[in-house]
Symmetry: C2
Subunit: 229 residues, 2 copies
Amino acid sequence: MTQTLRALKPPHETRTRILDASEELFMQHGFEGASMRLLTAKAGVNLAAVNYHFGSKDALIEAVFRRRLDPMNAERIVALDRLEKSAGGTPLAPAEIIRAFLRTSLAMIEDSRCGGRNFIRLLGRAYTEPSKPIRGLIGQLYAPVMERYKAAFARALPNLPGEELVWRLHFMFGTLSYTLAATDTVQLIAGCKPEDRYDAKLLEERLTAFLEAGLLAPLGVQSTVRKAA
Amino acid sequence: MTQTLRALKPPHETRTRILDASEELFMQHGFEGASMRLLTAKAGVNLAAVNYHFGSKDALIEAVFRRRLDPMNAERIVALDRLEKSAGGTPLAPAEIIRAFLRTSLAMIEDSRCGGRNFIRLLGRAYTEPSKPIRGLIGQLYAPVMERYKAAFARALPNLPGEELVWRLHFMFGTLSYTLAATDTVQLIAGCKPEDRYDAKLLEERLTAFLEAGLLAPLGVQSTVRKAA
DNA sequence: CACCGAGTAAAACGAACGTTTGAATTGTAC
DNA sequence: GTACAATTCAAACGTTCGTTTTACTCGGTG
């Protein structure tokens, strides 16, 4: 009886309302700028609810990230596993690996209820966040998927020096997170229609073309410079 | 007499001390996280000095940006002017334009007193800052140089559709700002020696190779898709 | 019915925030 | 030396922050 009632009525409705409101307000105002009173008012819950359900504001921030990022990164690893499985022993094309990583992010910006889109933008902000706990959390959550994809790229590009690969992955990661986070800069460069801003399919094509070309760019003189030094 | 004394003793020493301290602390803790008491303590000045010399904390933030960004963007435009002058009527190579833009940023990260490096990292943070006044300020300061470089790229790449160019510039801008701002993510991808992290010459080569390839990437199917739609 | 634990509610906590005040201090001109 | 403006200083302003406390409202159990 208890079981069925729990199943009918969401077990943590207040928690979910807080997480949803926080996702949006953290994105709009930042972590420090979004106060507890603002969050709880938007969520329609009491001020004390955050501390009751999460313990503290910092714990709430972590919960906001984990709710989306844990499944996302798990999905990324599964996608790469599937890719390598179906390829047998043959090396993967770099563009395939790029798309596998991209698609998880891009799927979220098409979230009809906007929660996913908010989170993606929030995530882009988090990389440049000065707060050390947040940086540490992001790094910790991303470490396994980073290692996994780095290995896949290394196998796909056996001729690219390891150090060079690390930098190009850094560039790629930056392009992706910035593109999704800094929504207004496109309008700054040119009056861009916001309607195709979030066309995930089109954005995937554009990003893949750009990133693949950058990843496969011919080695400049810098490698020789380094060898000589 | 007044003139010479003013020349010997810095006219706005307190102002400069505040700007230097703010640059570093805004980068470390963010704009909201760096309190007036922290800023003034680091600068070794009285708490009221900020409001006396700048008027408010927001005005201080604007002053921090303008002190570096105004000369930087002016230098970028001059560099592009020189490039086009010396090329006569012949079209510029995309890599030349990229380097002209890059070099101004990269020169700052070699600042021996670290002030410039702090500012570059601060700038990367500002693009994803949620605060509307800051976003507006950044956009306003960057608008002329953006327009100028966009026109130069359009002339250098007459076959690239305008909308496609806007996106690729957005990607490039994202790569640059993220690369310079998110210093810890490289270490996340791989244990990277921090010593060559700020080798401006090497970084210029790597970034130029990556960005040029991305900018010149072959057009995917998306343009056909768009034409059909 | 009494009882209990989970959750909600309103109010208050001390600390830290940006800003302002008014007196003290400095440097310069007459 | 006196006068005057510019700057520095300690102290306090009112507000807002994250958090805690205390009382209250329930549904389920014995």
